[in-house]
Symmetry: D2
Subunit: 351 residues, 4 copies
C-alpha cells in the first residue's frame, strides 16, 4: 500500500533513529538534566532568534494542551476554529488540562480564523456569568492544509493584545508552513505575537517528539509542574531531545517539509484538471481535500493507495470527499502513479 | 561517574534499540493499529497466562494514574503507603487524572502496607461527608526496595474484595520483584487479586515504555478515551510496542532484573558488616538504603560514585542516609570497587 | 421601578416565607434527614406520578450541572442549543462539574433543538480521538421563552435512546412550560424520555430552591457524593425543603406560572401591533424578545420600567432588541401601563 | 429530644428570620447587586477594621473550598491538621475546587497545628516531582473545640510568609473562638496573617449563610468566577446577605457564641469530676469530647439527650467517647438536666 493517509503513518527518518542511537551512551541525568536537552535548548534559541523556553514532550496533544493550560484559567474561553484539532481530535484533552476551560468554536473559510471573526466572538469580559476571554488558538498549517501568513497572525495577535489574552499556535505541521511561506520561525511566531507554540516533529520525521516553545518567560514557571502531573516528563529525557536535535540538524526539518509540500503541489497540479475532480481548499502545505467520483475513489484504493474518506457525500451525486496527505518520505513516483491512475479512472468515469 | 543513583539514569539496552530499529520499516497504521502492537498484546497474554488488556504508554506516572483513574470516582479514596510514588513523586498526577480523588496515606514498616492497616483505614462507605473507598494501591517493589509476597497481596486483595474496591499495583520495578521472588507474573497479580498493573520497563532497560495491564475486561472500556485525553496515545504507536516486544523477547526483562538484583545483594553483603554502616530495610530487589558516616559518603562521591543523599541525618551524630540503586547494565566490577572504597573509608572513619 | 427585567429580581412569595417560618421549630436532623425533606420527597412522587429521587439545591446552576454530571464521563459530549443557559450563563460550571465534558452547541430556530439536528450532531462513538456522545440537554421553557411539546421531547428522547445516551432538562422555568402547555409534569418528563430534570422554583416564587429530579434510580447512587463535594449539601436542609413544600402546596407553583404567562400574553397582545415593534419569537411562556425604536426604549426606561437590552442593533436602523420577563408577582396594571406608554412612544416615533 | 448533637441541628434565630422577612420587599437586583449586600460589605469592613472583600455563600464547605481555590494551583500542597473538616468531612470538595491540590495532613495535639510541625512539612518547593507548597489551613475553633490564640496564628503565618504561601482559616465556629478569646476579629485574622477566612454563621444561628472574607484584594479578582462556576452565586442574593446582616446586627453573633460557650463550660464543670468521666481536650469553645462508661451513655440517650458517639472504644474497658455540642439556643436547664442525669448514672456505674 502506498501511504497518502497521514503523515503519522510514516516511519521515522533514519537521521532521527541515528540521533537516538547516538544518545544511547552511558548514564545521563534524568528528567531533562542531560546534555542533549541542554543542546536542544540552545538550538531552539538559534532557530527562533530569541530566548525561548523549550519543553520536549512526546505527543502533539500533550504539546497543545500543556501549552494552552498556561494561558487560561479553568473558567476561561479559548477561541478556535470549529475544525481545530483541539476541538475535534483530542477527546477533551484541552478541557482536561485547563481544568474545564471552554473552547469557543468559530467559523472561517479554508479552516482559518480571521481577526474580525475572533474579535466579534470575544465578549463577556468581567461578567461573572460568562467564561472569561483567555486565549486564541490557531492551527498552522490548518486542518485543511491552508496557511496563515505572518500578517494574518499579527492581525489576530493584535486582537489578543487588545483583550489582554494569549495567543497559542498548534504547529503540528509548523515545518510545512515555514517551508511553504519562506518566512522565518521567528516571523511566524513571536514577532507576529504568538505566546506559546506546539512545535511538531512527529509527523515530519520524528518518532514521537514535539516541543512546547514558550516565548513569554513569565508563562513558563508552572510548565514543569503541569508537564509532570500530566505524566509527560520523561525520565530518560535525552531520547526525546535527541529526536529534536536530529530533526533540527542540518535543516532536516525544513528539507522534509519542502519535500512533502512539493509532493502535494504535484498532486494538486496533476489532479486539478481531471474531469469530476474538485479541490476544496488551496493546497498550501502537504494536504489535499478533493471531491471525486466514487468509482475513482474505489479504483484508487484497489490500485493500492491508502487514504481517508473525509466527509459525507459532496454536492454532486456520486461524489465523495477524500483527504490526501503527503509525507517527508513520500516519492515522486508514488505521486505520479497516483495521478496517472486517477486520470485514467476519472476519464472513464466521465465517459 | 559510576551510576548508583537511579535505574532511570541508564541508557536503553541495545536489544531495545534494535527492536525500535526493526519496527522502523515502511508505513504502519497509527494509534496502536499496527502489527507490532498486536504482537505485544499476545505476548502479554502469554506472560500473564490469561486474557489481558494491555495499553502501552511512555511514562510510569502515566501508567499509574491512568490505571488508577479506572478504579475510583472523583470522590473516591485510594489507600496507599505514605511513601508511595503516587503520593510523593508525581506532582499530583493521581488527583489530576482521577478528577480529585484523595490519596489516603498509611503507615507501614519497610514501605509496605498490611491487610490490617488497610482494613482499619477503610471507613465512611455510604456516608455522604466522606470520600468513598475506591481502591488500594501497592508498589511492587516498594519505594524502599522491599517486596510483597503473593500471599501478602492476596491478603490485601481480600480486604479490597470485602469492601468491593479495586486493587492497583505500581509495578515500576515489577521485574525486580518477579526476579527476586521466583513466582510467576500471574501469581503476583491477577491470581492474587490485582485488578490493574502498571508494568514498568523503562527503569529496567527500555527507552520510555510502560504497559497498563488490565485484568478485568469491564474496566478497560474507558481506558482508550482516558489515555487519549491525557495526551498519551502515540500516533506512531509501534515504537512504544517495539520497546515492550524487545523487552519481553527471550526473557530479557527477567535477565535484566536478576542481574540488577544480584548486584544489590552483592552490595548489601559487602557493606553490611562495615563499621558505622547500617542497612535500613531488607535488600530484596535492586535498592539499598543505608546510614553511613558523612566522611564515608563524601569519600565515595569523591571516588566517582553517583548516588542520592536520601534523608535528614540519622540518629547517630555524623551519619546520613543514602540510597543506592543497581541497574540492569551495572557491573560486578563497579560493585566491588564501591565496596572496597566504602570499606576503606569506613575503617578510617572508625579509627 | 417596575420590574420586567427578570423573574429573579422578584422577592419570594409570602407563602414560601411562611413555609420557612413554619419549618423553623425546634431541632431537626441535618443534611436532609429532617421530616420536611421526607414530606417533599413524597410530594414530588405525587407530582410526577412515579417514584422519583429528589435532591434539593439552592441554585439553578447547581441543579443543572449536578444533574449533568450523572450523565456524562469527563470525556463525554453534551449536545445542547447554542443559547442554552449551561453554555452561556454558567461560567463553565458544566465543564467543572463533569470533569471536562464538552458542550456541543447546536443551532435551532426559536431556541429549540430538533431531533434531526441532534441526530446529525451525534458522531464519533467509539472513536478514541473524539469526545463520546453522552447526553442531550434541553431547556424548558427555552432561553427565548418558547416551549417543547411532549412530542418534541419524545422525538429527541428517541434519538438519545438510539445512541444510548441520557436526556437532561433544564427546567428553570419548568412551571411556565407546564402552565402553558397544560400537560402533566409526568408527560413532559419521564413519559417523554427525560432522565434528569432541574426543577426550578426560585424564579417562580421561592427564595433559593431548586430540585434535581432523577427518574432513573440507577443514576442517583452518586448524586449525594457529588452534591456534597460541590458544597451544595445544606446542613439545615429543612429550609430548602420547606421552600419546595410551600411551592408545591395547593398548586402555588402552577398558579404563579399561569399568572406570569398570562401577563406575557397580555404584553405580547398589546405590543404586537404597534408601529416599529417586532416580536422575535412566539411568546409561549413568560418572556418576550422584541425590536423597538431606540426612542421607545429610552422612553420606557424613563417611564420607570426596568428591562434588559438584549443584543446588538437589529437590522433596521435605530432599532434595538430588548427582553421583557413577567413574574409571578407582576400585575395587570403594570402590563397595561407598559403597553400604554409603549403605544404612545411608538406612535410618536413613527410620525 | 434535647440537642447536644450538633450546632447545625438547630433552627435559625428569630432575628435572622426577621432579617430575611425584612429583605423580602419589592424587586432587587440579582446576583449580589442589591442594597442589602452593599450594607453587609460595609458591616464586614467595620467588623474587621479594614477593607475586606466579602462574598456570601450558603454552606461552610463552599466557603472553605472557594477560599482555598484562591490560594493554590492544581499542583499545590495545602497543609492542614489530619482531623480538619476539609480533610474528613467535605467528600473531596477541596480537591474538586482546587483542581486536584493535595491536602497534606499533619499531626497535632488537641486538633491544632504548630508552627514547627508545619515548617517541617513544607518541602519540595521548586522540585518538579512534588506538589508545590501553596497554603496552610487552620480551623478555628478546631474540630475538637480548642482554640488558636492570635499568637499561635501569627507564628504559623510567619512560616507561611517565609515560604510565600497563603494562610486560610476555616472559621465555621469563628464566633465561638472570638467569644472565648476576647480578641477582635482583626487580631485573629489579618493582623495575625490570615489571607482568607471562611466566616461561619449557619452553626451559630443563621439559616444557611457563610461569608468568604478576603484580606488580600489581589486574591479576590477571580473569586466571582469561581463562585459562579461552583453554582454558588445566588440570584436572589439579598437573602444570603440579609442573614449575615441579621447575624451581625447588635452583636447577635457574639452573644450567641458567648452563650453557647458558656453552656459548654457549664457542661465541662459539671461532668469533669464524675467517676469514670474523662475530658479529652480543653473545653475552650462549644464542644466537649469525653469518655464515659457505656452504661452512662445509654442512660443519657434513654433520658432524651441527643449526641454523637465519636470514636471506637477508649482505652479502658466499657468506655466510649462521645461528642457534646452546645448551641446558641441551648438552655441552662438542658445543661443542668444533662449533668444531673450523667452524675446519677456515673455514680451507679461506679458502684
Amino acid at each position: 500500500m502506498t501511504n497518502f493517509a497521514s503523515d503519522n503513518v510514516t516511519a521515522m527518518a533514519p537521521e532521527i533513529l541515528a540521533a537516538i542511537a547516538d544518545a544511547n551512551e552511558g548514564p545521563a541525568m534524568p528528567y531533562g538534566e542531560d546534555p542533549v536537552t541542554a543542546r536542544v535548548r540552545a538550538r531552539f534559541n538559534d532557530l527562533f532568534e530569541t530566548e525561548t523556553l523549550v519543553f520536549p514532550v512526546a505527543t502533539g496533544t500533550a504539546a497543545n494542551v500543556l501549552g494552552l493550560s498556561l494561558l487560561t484559567p479553568p473558567y476561561g474561553a479559548v477561541y478556535c476554529h470549529r475544525d481545530a484539532h483541539i476541538v475535534v481530535d483530542e477527546c477533551g484533552a484541552p478541557e482536561f488540562y485547563t481544568g474545564g476551560a471552554k473552547l469557543v468554536t468559530l467559523e472561517g473559510a479554508d479552516g482559518k480564523l480571521t481577526a474580525g471573526v475572533v474579535s466579534d466572538a470575544i465578549t463577556g469580559a468581567g461578567v461573572v456569568h460568562h467564561v472569561q476571554p483567555a486565549a486564541i488558538s490557531l492551527t498552522q498549517a490548518t486542518e485543511v492544509g491552508t496557511l496563515y501568513r505572518p500578517d494574518d497572525v499579527a492581525a489576530i495577535a493584535k486582537v489578543a493584545r487588545a483583550h489582554q489574552i494569549g495567543l497559542h499556535m498548534d504547529g503540528a505541521r509548523f515545518a510545512n508552513a515555514i517551508a511553504a511561506l519562506g518566512c522565518s520561525p521567528a516571523e511566524m511566531t513571536w514577532k507576529a505575537g504568538v505566546d506559546v507554540l506546539a512545535f511538531g516533529a512527529t509527523k515530519n520525521g520524528a518518532m514521537a517528539a514535539e516541543a512546547v516553545v514558550i516565548f513569554k518567560p513569565e508563562l513558563a514557571a508552572e510548565f514543569g509542574f503541569r508537564r509532570k502531573r500530566g505524566g509527560h516528563l520523561f525520565s530518560k529525557g535525552r531520547f526525546l531531545s535527541a529526536q529534536l536535535e536530529g530533526y533540527l540538524e542540518d535543516g532536516l526539518w525544513l528539507r522534509h517539509a519542502l519535500h512533502a509540500n512539493s509532493l502535494a503541489t504535484q498532486l494538486a497540479q496533476g489532479l486539478a484538471g481531471l474531469p469530476g475532480v474538485t479541490l476544496h481548499h488551496p493546497v498550501e502545505a502537504n494536504m489535499l481535500f478533493l471531491s471525486l467520483p466514487e468509482s475513482v475513489i474505489a479504483g484508487l484504493k484497489a490500485g493500492g493507495f491508502m487514504f481517508y474518506d473525509w466527509t459525507t457525500p459532496a454536492t454532486a451525486a456520486g461524489m465523495r470527499e477524500i483527504r490526501l496527505v503527503t509525507a517527508f518520505n513520500g516519492t515522486g513516483e508514488d505521486v505520479r502513479a497516483f495521478v496517472a491512475l486517477a486520470a485514467d479512472l476519472a476519464r472513464k468515469a466521465a465517459e
